[in-house]
Amino acid sequence: MASESAFRILALASRAFATADIELSALLARIARYTADAIGDVCAIRFLDDDRKFLDLVALERKQPEGAGLVPEWFARTRVQADDLGGAAETGALDVLTVPLRTGENIVGNIALSRTSPWWPYTIDDQGLLEELADRAGIAIRGARLHQELKLALQTRDDFLATAGHELKTPLAAMLMHVQSLQRVTRRDPTANVVDRIDKIANSGLRLERLVRQLLDVSMITAGKIRLEPDPFDLMDLVGDVVARFVEASDGVSTPISVRGETRVDGCWDWSRIDQVITNLVANGMKYGKGKPVAIDVSVDEGDVIIRVIDQGIGIDTEHQKKLFERFERAAATREFSGFGLGLWIARQIVEASGGRVVLESTSTDGSVFNVRLPRWPSNETIGEVSHGAV
């Protein structure tokens, strides 16, 4: 490849990639097509998966019409081992070139080229040119990814606002219906017995208050404004309180909650925040638990306490497990279960700030187990602010 021509190819590539459709898939197709045309004959772009074990094919383009010849089977494979850079090493083929794809400092995948026919080996110049092209592609891909992430974040926010509006409106609608009705009733008969209806208004008010508190928690956690105030206490007292509250709220008729394991676990935590964690996990278990019993199992492991919340509910599918503790994320279809989908995210923020961690221990169609591990006597270093900077 003459250097003049290489220079021209790079200059054109910079323009082609920079003006490419900002949609990532369209950009990748354009990069692959341009590279195939420039150096020939078939270009594959692969991205590393989250665990960096596999490379997944994200674009495959041929030079037209010359690239219509035979492509090695492995070259077009949708998934290959990350340590096998597209099979080139395996075959020792000279008609294959593979270079890493970087966005900034990180290797995110690779770009591979293969000649079809006539057989025509790549040169060291070709490799240099592909590396240069890969660098330009990396910058463009980074831009497209950022754009995509931003779009997704905006979409998530809009979806959340719509859900939040609906969630807040429903208890409000119930309250206003009762209030309008009581206005009519008491105008007709000022002595009418309305105690029962007022209780219902109060319940709807409490439901609204819980929703608003969740929203405020999210905004405070995001801004890093919630500080933990740890005090020594027996965790089992707190667990007892949480259970009693659920039993009281349901008049003892809905999901049974049992407590097992330790009878006393002293430690130093922020009572109201840990209360919130256990409440959120139990509420979650009850919400998805199909009315079947929820168990809280408390055990001690050296300096840590382990709280497991076990339900016999619908389970969580693999796709949603990863996103479970993220903000505004909810595995089940939106309308079947009410709520913001913020409970688990808030729980995680508090647990991590308390020096512990919360994981989904197991899940199946027979139910899920959430596992919270908290240091009993955390040092100052392990206690952080409840803060989640990234938006």
Partner: protein, 129 residues
């Protein structure tokens, strides 16, 4: 709930709101049947005397308002029952026209407007007349 002649059916998946609507209508002298979603509503309709009016929420699970209306339209007897849409969604009025509702009440529901609709279709309990 046993069969009751002339009682309107309220279909909403939010227990508190459904109960509030029921309480408000009961003290005004109407008998009310309840269902949590389209499926329950269909089961109710097949096991009770047909109500003179259905008040229907739109976003429900498992069976939402759209699917309920589609099911009802397949059955001559059921499709003759007037249905009023209760919805907090944008575009509810347009939905109401498209899906054959006789009326639409935005949430939060104005009780006077609800009573005015109810009185057009439902008789009060005998002892209230």
């Amino acid at each position: 709930m046993g069969p009751c002649e002339g009682c309107a059916l309220v279909v909403d998946d939010d227990n508190d709101l459904r109960e509030a609507i029921r309480d408000a209508l009961v003290v005004e002298g109407y008998d009310i049947g309840e269902a949590r979603d389209g499926q329950e509503a269909l089961a109710y309709l097949r096991s009770h005397d047909l109500p003179p009016l259905i008040l229907l929420d739109w976003n429900m699970a498992p069976m939402d308002g759209a699917r309920f209306m589609a099911e009802v339209s397949k059955d001559c007897a059921l499709s003759a029952i007037p249905v009023v849409l209760l919805s907090a969604c944008v575009g509810a009025a347009e939905k109401a026209i498209r899906h054959g509702f006789v009326g639409y009440l935005p949430k939060p529901i104005n009780l006077d407007a609800l009573l005015s609709i109810i009185s057009r279709y439902c008789l009060m309990r005998a002892n209230e007349i």
